[in-house]
Subunit: 310 residues, 2 copies
C-alpha cells in the first residue's frame, strides 16, 4: 500500500461539517465561514529529516521550505494566506540555536507573504527533526480551481521549468501565489494543482479527478537547466525529459484552460510575469492516461511521479 | 532551556497579520475573519509515541486523545470546533490496520463534536508514531476568555478532579466544550485555561499573564480517585495533593471569576452539569506565586507542573 492508496482508504468516510464546501482530496479544503463572496482554505504539510531535507541542510532553509510548500498549495487554489500554525518535532538534545534558525527562515518567508504565525508547538521527536505547518487562507467564492474541472480539448499549461529540483530549487522556490490569483481573475481556469509529485504524477491527479486523458508534446515540456545538466554529466542519470516528468518538488502551477483562451493567456502572462516561463505542454483528450507525442509518434507514459511514502 | 523558555524565545517576534486579534501564548489564537459578532480560533497540538502514549496504547485511543487535546484548548476559549487537519508521522514498515484504527478513534470523537476532518498528510517519521492535529473553531466576539484577565479578589474554580490521569483518564477524558461555552454565556469569566501541565503549572500561566498571585485552600483541591489510590498503595508515590498539583493531562477547565458570582455559578453548574464536579479552590491575590493554605498556615508552593519538554 503506497501513500496514495493509504490516503484513499483513510479519506473514504471522514466526518463532515456543514461549513465544508470541498473536503480532503484537493490541494486545500474549502470552507464557507459566513463571509459573503469569500471562502477559506485549510492545508497542512510536513517536512521530515532524511526525506525532505538532510542533516546538512541549513536550518533557515528547512523553515523556509516547510512554509513555502503549504503556500504553493494555497497558490494552486488561487488563495491568499492569512495564518499558520507550526508543529516542530525535535530530537532529544536539540540545539536552541538550530530551532531559532528554523524559525528565522520560516518567519522571513511569512513576512514576505503576510502570513501570521499564530501558534505552534514544540515537541520531542526521537527520530529527527519534523516540521508540520497548517495554513489558513482566503479565496474568492466561485474562483477556486479544483482538481476536477478539466474538459476534453482543454490546453494544459505549466509555469516555470521542471526537474532537478533537488539540486537546490526545492529549498528556494517561490510559491506562485500572485500567479494563481492572477490566473483566476483573468481567465476561467478549469483545473489547477501544484507540481509537487512530478509533472506526470500531478497531471494524473487532474486526469483521474475529471475522468479524462492527456497528450503531451515531448519537445514542449520545459526541462530545467539543472535536469539537463545532470543528464549531460552522467550517462546513467534520468534524461532531462524523464526528470521533468517524475522528479517532483517543482512547486510550479499546472492547469487546464479552454484552448480559445491560450493566446490571450500567453500574452497576458508575459506582460504580468516576464521572468517566469509559461508553457502549453499539451491537451486534454477523452480516455485515460498520459500519452507523450513527438515527430516519431506517440507512446503511453507508464512512469509515475515520485511516490513520497513507501 | 526548557519548553516554556524555548517558546518564549520563539514567540518574541513572530510575523503578524491584521486579522489576528490574539496571537500565540493563549490556548488558541483568535482571528477576525470578517463575520460580525464572530471570531475564529486556531490551535495545533501533537502527540508522540513514548511521551503521550506508548507502543501498547490501543491505536483508537491515540487518535481519540490527539483530537481531544486540541478540543480541550478550544473549550478553554469557549469555542465550537469546525474543522481539523491531521498530520500522521509513521515509522517505516507501518501497519495500515494500525493507521486505520488511529483514524477510527479520531473520527468517532470528531463526529461526536461535529468536527470535519478536511485534510491531512501521512509522512514517514523514523522515530515513531507522531500525530499532530490543527483545529479551526468559532467563538462569540467579546466572550472569549484569555489567560490574562484575572483580578485581585477573584475566586479560582476548577472542573472535575485532578491527578493520576496517566492511570487511564488521559486517553478517555471529555473535552469540556459545552461547559466552556455555558460559562461565558452565563458569567463574566475573567480568565480561563485548560489544565494540561498540572494545576500548579497552568495556574502559574494565568498568574503570570495577569501579574498576580494565588492562595489555594489545600483541603479544597479536588484530588482524583486514581491519585488517592496510588498514594495509598505506594508510600513512595506523590501524595494525592501533589499529584493534583503537578501530574498534568487532566484537561479540566481552570478559571477565575468575580467572587460575587461564585454562589450563582455553583448553583447553575450543578443544575447544568450534575455529573461534573466544580470546585472553588482559592482566590487571586496581589503579588506573585502560589501559596497553599490550611489550618496550620500557608506556604509558598515551589513545585511546577510537568515540563513536557526536557
Amino acid at each position: 500500500m503506497n501513500e496514495f492508496q493509504l490516503i484513499a482508504r483513510l479519506t473514504q468516510s471522514l466526518p463532515g461539517n456543514p461549513a465544508v464546501e470541498t473536503g480532503p482530496g484537493d490541494d486545500c479544503a474549502v470552507l464557507d465561514l459566513g463571509v459573503p463572496g469569500k471562502r477559506f482554505l485549510l492545508k497542512t504539510d510536513a517536512v521530515v529529516e532524511g526525506f525532505h531535507f538532510t542533516r546538512e541542510t541549513p536550518p533557515e532553509k528547512i523553515g523556509r521550505k516547510a512554509l513555502a510548500r503549504g503556500l504553493s498549495d494555497l497558490a494552486a487554489m488561487a488563495g491568499t494566506p492569512i495564518a499558520a500554525l507550526v508543529t516542530l518535532g525535535l530530537p532529544p538534545g536539540f540545539d536552541p540555536e538550530l530551532v531559532a534558525a528554523v524559525y528565522n527562515g520560516m518567519n522571513a518567508l511569512a513576512r514576505e507573504y503576510g502570513v501570521a504565525i499564530v501558534g505552534g508547538e514544540t515537541t520531542t521527536n526521537p527520530g529527527g527533526l519534523l516540521l508540520s505547518i497548517a495554513l489558513l487562507g482566503s479565496a474568492t467564492a466561485g474562483k477556486i480551481p479544483l482538481r476536477s474541472g478539466s474538459q476534453v480539448g482543454d490546453a494544459i499549461f505549466v509555469s516555470g521549468t521542471l526537474g532537478g529540483s533537488l539540486a537546490g530549487r526545492h529549498l528556494d522556490f517561490t510559491p506562485r501565489l500572485a500567479e494563481g490569483r492572477w490566473l483566476v481573475e483573468q481567465f476561467a481556469i478549469h483545473a489547477m494543482i501544484d507540481v509537487s509529485d512530478g509533472l506526470a504524477g500531478d497531471l494524473r491527479h487532474l486526469l483521474q479527478a475529471a475522468g479524462v486523458g492527456a497528450v503531451l508534446r515531448k519537445p514542449s515540456i520545459p526541462v530545467s537547466r539543472e535536469a539537463k545538466a545532470r543528464a549531460r554529466a552522467n550517462s546513467t542519470a534520468k534524461t532531462g525529459l524523464l526528470a521533468a516528468l517524475t522528479d517532483g518538488e517543482d512547486f510550479e502551477l499546472l492547469f487546464t484552460i479552454a484552448p480559445g483562451d491560450a493566446i490571450r493567456l500567453l500574452d497576458g502572462w508575459k506582460q504580468q510575469f516576464p521572468e517566469t516561463k509559461l508553457t502549453c505542454i499539451g491537451k486534454i483528450v477523452a480516455g485515460e492516461g498520459i500519452r507523450l507525442h513527438d515527430q516519431h509518434g506517440s507512446q503511453l507514459f507508464h512512469g509515475d511521479g515520485y511516490i513520497h511514502f513507501a
